[in-house]
């Protein structure tokens, strides 16, 4: 099996002399192709910092990170942009759809940026819109559709260019439970049938229970790792809750 993401001894500190805050410490992590990994932890644990570093929009203070065989720490600004465009797909909590573009245009944006021929774009967008069930709203603008639809549009945009790794940052954070379930099921299907690799940061145990593996971070360090293996989703959810309560964060907010 191919390793998509490999992080070796990643550290991140903020601040200057005398007033240093350590956000991440000795993070070692690897994600294989076709995995659906959840990252959990209480607020301030370093989840977002880790995600930003993997997204290449922030840099680690020290450590090695390889994504799809390329070392992202040594790349320059220009190459990083290309890298993000070609290898990574993003889903954000607040969707980050451009409100001046239709849903369709939002989805095809990464393809347009990579100068894919228009005919091919058309085919690809329709394919993905069908997968997420948003075909009827393709010509609508973001302010005309619901939060759940927005997030599915954002997810469509994330995978339209066939990225090696999809990074999701609290994708269900702004959704009602029904939309959240629907989105998580879509991501799950995407992972199973397309063998897409997904890394999802969340503080919601319910969302995490859709993952195949959940990694817990506390105070900037790896704390524990859970594998779903043959457990049902409900059993896995209980396991996650147990770890969370041991973290002392008291994350019983969603069932």
């Amino acid at each position: 099996m191919k390793t998509i993401l490999q992080a070796i001894n990643v550290n991140k500190t903020f601040g200057t002399k005398g007033n240093i805050y350590t956000a991440l410490q000795h993070i070692n992590l690897s994600i294989e192709e076709g995995e659906f990994v959840g990252i959990m932890g209480p607020s301030g644990a370093g989840k977002s910092t880790l995600l930003n570093i993997f997204s290449t929009i922030d840099t680690p203070t020290s450590g090695e990170i390889t994504i799809d065989g390329q070392n992202i720490v040594t790349m320059n600004e220009e190459k990083l942009s290309d890298f993000r465009r070609n290898k990574l797909g993003f889903i954000f909590q607040d969707y980050n759809l451009l409100d001046t573009l239709t849903v369709k245009e939002n989805i095809l944006l990464p393809l347009a940026l990579s100068k894919v021929p228009a005919a091919e774009i058309e085919v690809r967008v329709n394919e993905i819109a069908d997968m997420f069930g948003i075909r009827p709203i393709l010509d609508k603008y973001p302010y005309h559709i619901s939060g759940g639809q927005k997030q599915r549009a954002a997810a469509s945009r994330a995978i339209v260019a066939n990225p090696s790794l999809i990074l999701a940052d609290e994708p269900t954070g702004a959704l009602d439970s029904k939309s959240a379930t629907s989105l998580l099921e879509s991501l799950s299907t995407l992972n199973e049938s397309n063998r897409s690799t997904i890394m999802m940061v969340t503080h919601d145990a319910y969302a995490a229970s859709y993952c195949k593996r959940v990694i817990f971070i506390n105070d900037g360090q790896l704390f524990k790792e859970l594998h779903k293996q043959d457990l049902t989703r409900k059993e896995f959810f209980q396991q996650i809750l147990e770890v969370l309560s041991s973290l002392g964060g008291g994350h019983h907010d969603a069932v």
């Binding site: 997204s55 929009i57 600004e77 220009e78 942009s81 290309d82 890298f83 993000r84 465009r85 070609n86 990574l88 993003f90 954000f92 980050n96 451009l98 409100d99 001046t100 573009l101 245009e105 095809l108 944006l109 990464p110 393809l111 347009a112 940026l113 100068k115 021929p117 228009a118 774009i121 058309e122 603008y141 302010y143 945009r157």
Partner: protein
């Protein structure tokens, strides 16, 4: 911390936003100060022959300037206040009273105004000396006078700008009371909706501009449209149709075009075109009014300066058209004539190129055969013999000669305009003298004269035979014509001759017309140029801060783009494209309007204005480009400042 010190702090923190506004305000104060100083200063007036004209010209220019500046400051102030709705909302939420917030904004505006005024007057005192030098040069004087800054000018500038500052500051204070707290917080969150565009209105905009252009380019003399609408109403119609058309063009046609361009998927779905086009589509409508004002101002400025500059540029040729001889006068008395001749022959600065004495006749004529527009049928003409014409034409270096026989004649009309002047060739007029009538027929027309227009009537060349026949029946006179070297510098010679020649001699000199032409057109260029620069600076800074506001609200969008892998270089490119669109529209419209106005004018003035106008447009575009680059840079900095 007092309200006053918060106001001071706000200015300092917001200085990058205010900078261009502040700079244009200072610039307009400097120019106003210069104009007012020139109005009060009398050193230029003593150097000029037409002194009262200059003072009143500068008073007029100062009034135009002050009206414009007042509108500009008013607009900018309310713009800034609106922009800070959120901040005002925050203060309100914290429990600061509206009265206090209003006072704070009042202090801010007032402080800026006073600061700009002080800097402006200080700079003005230094620079006005330099500007006066430019003016003297433009008006054709070498001598630099002892120009000094007058207290009256300082006081005038101070009072006028203080009033404007007070009024506009009070306006900011008033605006606060109109805000509602809930609105203040939603100010930035208003959803932008895709603008609608109607094909009909888009078409209408083109039709309106088309009508305006068509009317402007009509030949005044034989246009049916002008005849029906009347000479007073038509220019008004042109103005209204062009301005309205321009507005609709920016408001609707651009939206329609952008929407159309989205249909071409191959282009639209390529790289950042998708972003640039959609951004523009959303923004252009909100900018339409500003862009229209800028286009109209640009057109007005360019036309005014272009006209002044072309007058300046063509001064020599137009003066020599009216004064083909350097000096010319009627010999009234042989003693004075020989005295004048001695002065001219012995002049140290000038050599005489030729001297000719001519016999002329003056006769009344019935001109009903000339089908002139609205002029009486009686006109007095000066008659010149064929022989004398050929001699003088040769001396003036014209390679043309006439050969007229019997009742044939040739008209000399240096201000001939096709369609407006009578069609001479082929028509006849009847000369009358001492009860006798003599019919002559025009065989030829020369679009120049060999005689100075200031000394004689409209001139007709007749055959030598006819001239001899008429000599006894008409009033005769003797004319002295001189060609000299350095005719454009003959100030002292002209003055001296003016001193001895009587009024009746009808003395005309190339220098006199040349100098007064230089003076008035130089003055026009100076005023037009500086007014134009103030307009340019002010409108440029309006686009600048409008664009920066947009940049601030676009920040989030560019952050998304950055995250999904758009390079900074690409962002810069798309920003440059969008801003280019906004800047180019009013400039192109302004230049097009100006080109039409000037080609109408150049037909009227009978001169080609191409070179001076192209120079003006070039300079204007260059300054405009500087604003463009500054704006692109600032915009780019705002949207890429993500970390």
């Amino acid at each position: 911390m007092t309200l006053f010190s918060i106001a001071g702090k706000n200015i300092r923190k917001n200085f990058t936003n205010y900078f261009l506004y502040f700079a244009s305000m200072i610039f307009s104060i400097v120019i106003y100060f210069t104009f007012v100083s020139l109005k009060y200063d009398n050193s230029i007036q003593s150097a000029s022959d037409s002194s009262p004209k200059i003072s009143s010209a500068f008073s007029g220019a100062a009034v135009v300037l002050i009206i414009f500046v007042a509108i500009f400051i008013w607009y900018s102030n309310s713009f800034f206040t609106r922009k800070r709705k959120k901040e005002v909302g925050l203060y309100s939420l914290l429990g600061v009273r509206k009265k206090q917030i209003g006072r704070m904004l009042f202090y801010e505006n007032f402080l800026m105004g006073v600061l700009a005024l002080i800097v402006g007057i200080a700079l003005g005192s230094v620079l006005s000396r330099f500007f006066v030098m430019i003016l003297m040069k433009a008006m054709g004087y070498d001598a630099i006078t002892n120009f000094s800054i007058s207290l009256a000018a300082i006081v005038n500038t101070f009072i006028v700008f203080m009033i404007i500052t007070l009024i506009t500051s009070f306006q900011g204070y008033r605006l606060i009371y109109r805000f509602k707290l809930i609105e203040l917080f939603h100010a930035d969150q208003l959803r932008e909706k895709e603008p609608k565009a109607s094909w009909l209105i888009a078409l209408l905009s083109l039709v309106l501009v088309g009508i305006g252009y068509w009317l402007a380019l009509q030949n005044l003399a034989n246009s049916k449209a002008w005849a029906t609408l009347g000479l007073m109403v038509t220019p008004l119609v042109i103005l209204v149709t062009v301005i309205l058309g321009t507005y609709l063009l920016f408001n609707t046609l651009t939206v329609t075009m952008l929407k159309l361009s989205r249909r071409n998927k191959k282009r639209y779905w390529k790289g950042l075109n998708i972003i640039g086009t959609s951004q523009l589509l959303y923004r252009i409508k909100g900018n339409a009014r500003t862009l229209t004002i800028i286009a109209v101002l640009s057109a007005t400025t360019l036309t005014a300066v272009g006209t002044a500059y072309s007058l300046y540029y063509s001064n020599r040729s137009s003066v020599s058209l009216v004064n083909p001889n350097s000096l010319m006068f009627i010999s009234t008395n042989s003693k004075i004539t020989s005295q004048a001749d001695t002065i001219i022959q012995h002049s140290k600065e000038h050599d005489v190129l030729y001297h000719t004495t001519l016999e002329l006749l003056e006769m009344d004529a019935d001109t009903s055969g000339l089908d002139q527009i609205s002029q009486s049928d009686e006109q007095t003409f000066t008659l010149l013999s064929n022989r004398d014409f050929n001699r003088l034409a040769k001396q003036q270096g014209r390679g043309e000669a006439l050969s007229l026989h019997a009742d044939e004649a040739a008209a000399l009309d240096p201000i001939y305009i096709k369609g407006m002047s009578p069609e001479y060739v082929g028509s006849s007029i009847t000369l009358s003298g001492n009860g006798d009538q003599e019919k002559i027929t025009f065989k030829d027309l020369k679009k120049y004269s060999v005689l100075n227009q200031g000394t004689v009537y409209s001139t007709i060349v007749v055959s030598d035979d006819l001239f001899a026949k008429l000599e006894s029946k008409a009033k005769t006179m003797t004319l002295e014509a001189y060609g000299i070297t350095h005719q454009d510098k003959a100030q002292s010679l002209t003055k001296e001759l003016e001193g001895i020649l009587p009024e009746k001699a009808g003395f005309s000199s190339f220098y006199r017309d040349y100098a007064s032409g230089m003076e008035s057109s130089g003055l026009l260029i100076f005023m037009g140029g500086f007014l134009g620069l103030v307009f340019l600076a002010a409108t440029g800074s309006i686009i600048y801060f409008k664009q920066l506001t947009e940049a601030n609200s676009d920040k989030a969008r560019y952050l998304i783009l950055y995250k999904i892998g758009v390079k900074k270089r690409e962002i810069r490119k798309t920003v440059a494209k969008q801003v280019m669109f906004i800047f180019a529209l009013p400039l192109i419209a302004g230049i097009a309007h100006c080109a039409v106005a000037l080609s109408a004018l150049s037909r009227l003035m009978q001169t080609s204005l191409v070179i001076p106008v192209v120079i003006c447009m070039g300079i204007y575009t260059c300054i405009y480009l500087i604003y463009y680059f500054v704006t692109v840079n600032a915009y780019y900095k705002i949207v890429t400042n993500v970390k």
